[in-house]
């Protein structure tokens, strides 16, 4: 496995692979890798096949963090991450600096952004107003640098995956997007790099997101008619906030294609939530 740090070296390699007809599978990450990421790398490995190549990028992208967010304390451990990538089957790790990715930004010489103006407005976009603009911009850049045939994203960031799919389709990127399922701890907590912010007490309370989702799924299956989403939301909020350090940011029922709020919850309705556990904001989602 090889580590590439410069944009121009990475793009040069990508152009060579393209000319040789090598299939490239790509997994963009912010590092702090856990089993969820590694499942994406293994999926990318399968999709690339034995003759193809797997590229993992490790880059904590500043433009997707708000001014009051955890950019500075976001966990970073490159040596561990790159070893995990190697074990999971990556051929290349792209590990650029901010100066490589956004040259001249501090002097105002970076000025182009990719914006998705519909699906990115609700939920995470409402809570984090410049978040998705940072995500779509960095992913567009990474696609142009790595030139992948396939890119793998995790379903845990469901809205992100949907926004990226819309961007790829709207801007005609010749990249196939694969969304791989959320990987969970044994108690149901969705794997996330931010889980390591939780202290022992908070960690014990954090599985309540998944329990709330399962509760909603069961109710929908058992229901004789459509459930009122507002009522179900209140019920889930109550269930979640029984945990002393948990506070709901949002619980949202919606159509997974259009992201329009669903007044009724039924099979196929999507449920997503963001919950503060202590100061740590956790998200989770699933179809009902």
């Amino acid at each position: 496995m090889r580590v590439v740090k410069s944009v121009s070296a990475m793009q040069r390699l990508a152009l060579q692979w393209r000319r040789r007809g090598v299939r490239v599978s790509f997994v963009p990450t912010m590092g702090a890798l856990h089993e969820g990421h590694l499942s994406l790398v293994r999926r990318a490995r399968k999709l690339a096949g034995t003759k193809g190549l797997v590229v993992v990028s490790i880059y904590v992208n500043p433009t997707q963090f708000g001014p009051a967010e955890d950019l500075r304390r976001y966990p970073r451990d490159f040596n561990r991450d790159s070893e995990l990538c190697r074990e999971a089957g990556a051929d290349f790790v792209f590990f650029p600096t901010d100066t490589e990715m956004y040259p001249g930004k501090s002097e105002g010489r970076y000025s182009t952004y990719v914006v998705e103006e519909n699906l990115s407005r609700a939920m995470e976009g409402e809570a984090r107003p410049t978040h998705f603009r940072g995500v779509t911009t960095v992913v567009a850049k990474l696609f142009n640098i790595v030139l992948p045939d396939i890119a793998v994203f995790g379903a845990k960031d469901f809205q992100q995956a949907t926004v990226i799919q819309r961007m790829v389709s709207d801007l005609n990127f010749p990249v196939k997007i694969v969304v791989a399922p959320t990987v969970r701890e044994r108690d149901g907590l969705a794997m996330s790099s931010r889980n390591r912010y939780l202290d022992e007490q908070q960690r014990a309370q954090a599985p309540v997101l998944w329990r709330a989702i399962q509760h909603a799924q069961k109710k929908v299956v058992a229901a004789k008619r459509l459930l009122d989403a507002e009522k179900l939301r209140s019920e889930l909020k109550k269930l979640i906030e029984q945990q002393p350090t948990a506070r709901v940011d949002y619980v949202h029922f919606f159509d997974p294609q259009t992201f329009m709020a669903a007044p009724k919850a039924t099979r196929g309705t999507h449920l997503a939530m963001a919950v503060f556990v202590g100061k740590t904001r956790l998200i989770d989602n699933a179809p009902l």
Copy 2:
């Protein structure tokens, strides 16, 4: 020469060329071709070489027109245009419909835009607030569909060419941008598809833009010290508006890299202007 109308067919061809290592030169146009466009196609032909391919796109992009602008009456003559492309050395003409380029837009299912937020604000961006967002978006799409190695733009749309260069650099598109010189009529009028809106009297007055530019160039060469830009602007405005149907929209002196307004005009300062001749808005520019 072959005409391709669907996005998927064009992108499939482009992916094949890429795999075969074929060099692709690209000229995006809105049709209504004149000698200026054809000089770009011939330049693209040279840059592609004998083994390479030249693609010209002909697409009147709705997202770069304002609601009160000339989208509907913009001149269209595909048969003439494609014949001119062939003669100038094009191998492929990409001629998509709006439904191909912006599927689902009228139903709100198109939602991704590329925005440049610095260089695109002044001049044409001030006069036409959503213009450059439409330009950067469609050019990003066309780059992803045609996958060119080189793209050729005209210097007449100087701000457009600069915004595109910034977009390509910021978003890491693996495309080399070439800017080719403005082609002029014998009386100095910069070639433009919009010149055909001019009646005989207006056409006779339209070369005043170029005369004003030459006037400024001579003054700068002759000047013993830096010229006050505000004074020179008033002088040019007066000169231009001596033509009975001409009305200045803007006359702007600026640094061609940063687009910052230049308080003093000197060699290297860039001069750009927009002038209504009757109801037709003409633009021109040159370095001093």
